[in-house]
Assembly symmetry: C2
Homo-oligomer: 380 residues x 2
């Protein structure tokens, strides 16, 4: 293998696949990045066996030559060293040549590296994904959906299935649900019409995979193609393939958890409530569970308060747009409430309470494409 490549293109390519490479893997070859070049361009692969990322750098793009291939071939190089070296090379181009026993020469300006490579034949094969269940979502919407649900996954391995977000698709509507059993986040979106015949359920994507995917997908209207199989999900963007393993097991049926009725319904400003809880939580952190208290004072105003005997007390008044139903006193975890409010994509929200000890539901003031459910804390 021998080729010359534009250094900036190589930096971007390597950084793209590095997100899948962990230095703490139990499979030594996965600390490497695999590179394959042929006349069409260069393919870079990184994997930690849960996530795999493949990036393609075309030999020519928009009239610019990215790489000149003299001899095609493949090599695996230690990802951590390779990525740092590439970033610091002095010249605009890098020449890479693989010699005997996978010894790899890299030349750039007056700098010459000789790296010990590994046999590319030993690299595990990427999952083979049959493209039967395919649909697509705009990149910006995909990122938003991830942001609005992934924070609610469980961080405990007690019930591994809860560390993922459950995706299901029915009648052209995609539903994403995450819960750690103290709170639940759900987002639904209509997907493009040519996939209305497609349906699946219990596709549970690890939260970690979605967080990494979110860093790769661009915040644009460009479509991301999504392929679902039994044990893998594949996200395709321009020049990048992102594979994630799916979690084994059955995600609990969460539809019954959402309350149907409400004893108290409040409509109020998202930002005003978020900021008041943020301040009140400053003193709540020391205590157990980071708890703040919400009390309706009258039809126009509620009070958020918290009390830490050693530090002090705080009282916040927040205006209410409308209140229907009974007066209310309720306590909840400030962190859960703030994360839920940050995921709400609207200036006004509706909160539906069914009693001080029952889960309460946060929705946009109009519509129900986002639902955030929080279990209160007993303090009265």
């Amino acid at each position: 293998m021998k080729f010359k490549i534009n250094r900036n293109q190589l930096i971007q390519g390597v950084q793209g696949v590095m997100k899948a490479i962990s230095s703490r893997t139990t499979i030594p070859i996965l600390t490497g990045v695999k590179m394959t070049v042929d006349s069409g361009g260069m393919t870079l692969t990184g994997s930690d066996s849960d996530i795999s990322i493949e990036r393609f750098i075309p030999a020519e793009e928009n009239g610019e030559i990215n790489l000149e291939v003299q001899t095609p071939g493949s090599i695996i190089l230690q990802a951590r060293y390779f990525s740092e070296i590439v970033k610091k090379l002095p010249d605009e181009t890098v020449e890479i040549e693989v010699g005997e026993r996978f010894e790899t020469q890299m030349r750039s300006g007056a700098s010459e590296f000789s790296l010990i490579g590994l046999d590319p034949e030993e690299y595990p094969r990427l999952p083979q994904v049959e493209e039967q269940n395919v649909f697509s979502i705009q990149g910006d919407l995909l990122k938003m959906m991830i942001r609005q649900t992934v924070f609610a996954v469980s961080t405990s391995e007690t019930r591994p299935i809860l560390t993922g977000v459950n995706w299901s698709l029915e009648d052209g509507q995609l539903t994403c649900v995450a819960t750690d059993s103290h709170r639940l986040a759900q987002r639904t979106v209509k997907i493009n019409s040519n996939a209305t015949e497609l349906s699946f359920r219990n596709v549970v994507i690890p939260g970690k995979s979605l967080n990494e995917l979110s860093k790769i997908v661009e915040d644009s209207e460009e479509l991301v193609q999504i392929v679902v199989t039994n044990n893998q999900i594949l996200f395709k963007t321009k020049n990048t393939l992102f594979f994630s393993r799916l979690l084994d097991g059955n995600f609990p049926d969460t539809s019954k958890l959402l309350p149907g009725d409400s004893k108290t319904t409040l409509v109020l400003g998202t930002k005003e409530l978020l900021q008041a809880i943020d301040r009140a939580s400053l003193l709540a952190r020391e205590g157990r569970n980071n708890v703040v208290k919400l009390v309706t004072l009258n039809e126009n105003e509620l009070e958020i308060s918290s009390n830490s005997p050693e530090i002090g007390k705080v009282f916040e008044h927040v205006a209410i747009t409308s209140m229907v139903g009974e007066e209310l006193k309720i306590s909840f975890n400030a962190k859960y409430m703030m994360e839920a409010l940050k995921a709400m994509d609207c200036s006004e929200i509706k909160i539906l309470f069914t009693g001080a000890m029952r889960p309460f539901l946060i929705e946009p003031q109009s519509g129900d494409s986002i639902k955030q459910l929080i279990l209160p804390v007993r303090t009265y």
Copy 2:
């Protein structure tokens, strides 16, 4: 005590003194920030007993009213909570009122905090500094001097005196020296003429104090007044006093360490050498001591190389402007060399070698206001 203050002014003031406040202090009252207001303005104090910082917020400045004092007085509040609360308050002004048993009310917009305060009489007194030995340096020059020496202090407590930078003043020339016994950094500056009669030696300022000071001093031509006493040094800028304890003990006489002659003298570009060593050190980190090798190839070129058996080799060629004396092979710690080169404030440097096992000296190509001495590593 009762007063109203501009929130942004309070944020800046609190952040200024927070740098001296440690949450890991053994003296509980020092986790607090002390505030004193009178008709002239507000004084904030923070201290970890090594460093003390006092900031003054004038009641009126450039025609703007910063605070309105109703009743003067003093209070101590938990610094960590107070600073976070102040940052998040909703309104442009904050009203602070101290009631019985030091209970402190803070009101801003619809937000009301009630914090448990401490008796200001219990706060330790700041060092009393007699203003006999006073001189001044421009803020930007002071920052530069700190940057060029403080990195070379020892991080080990084996010889505590080496964790500080030794300042001495003689004949109007200030000399700052730091050494960890593997390398040495020295910077000299002429100071303003009205202090030529002033002299001192063995004023050893803890490296940590200088790092904190550097964050506070502005990168401008404004003068910083410096007051030296037996066991304290005080830096005065507009509205801020920065006190640091001095280290006990005698700093070693380092003047004899600087070599007088040279067997090989190289002149070359600072940045070119730095970047070559930076790349070569990428592979050297794994090995012991982070060692790279320098070999003069001919009168116009030297080679920097490093070798890590498990990862690979690197060779870097660097052009030399001039070489006088013998050929040279020498090995040294790449981190020490890079830190020394980053401290050189010039595009070309002179390196004076007196043999492969003797310390070598780096100076600006012309002048000797900066001297960096590095002990080589035996590898041949």
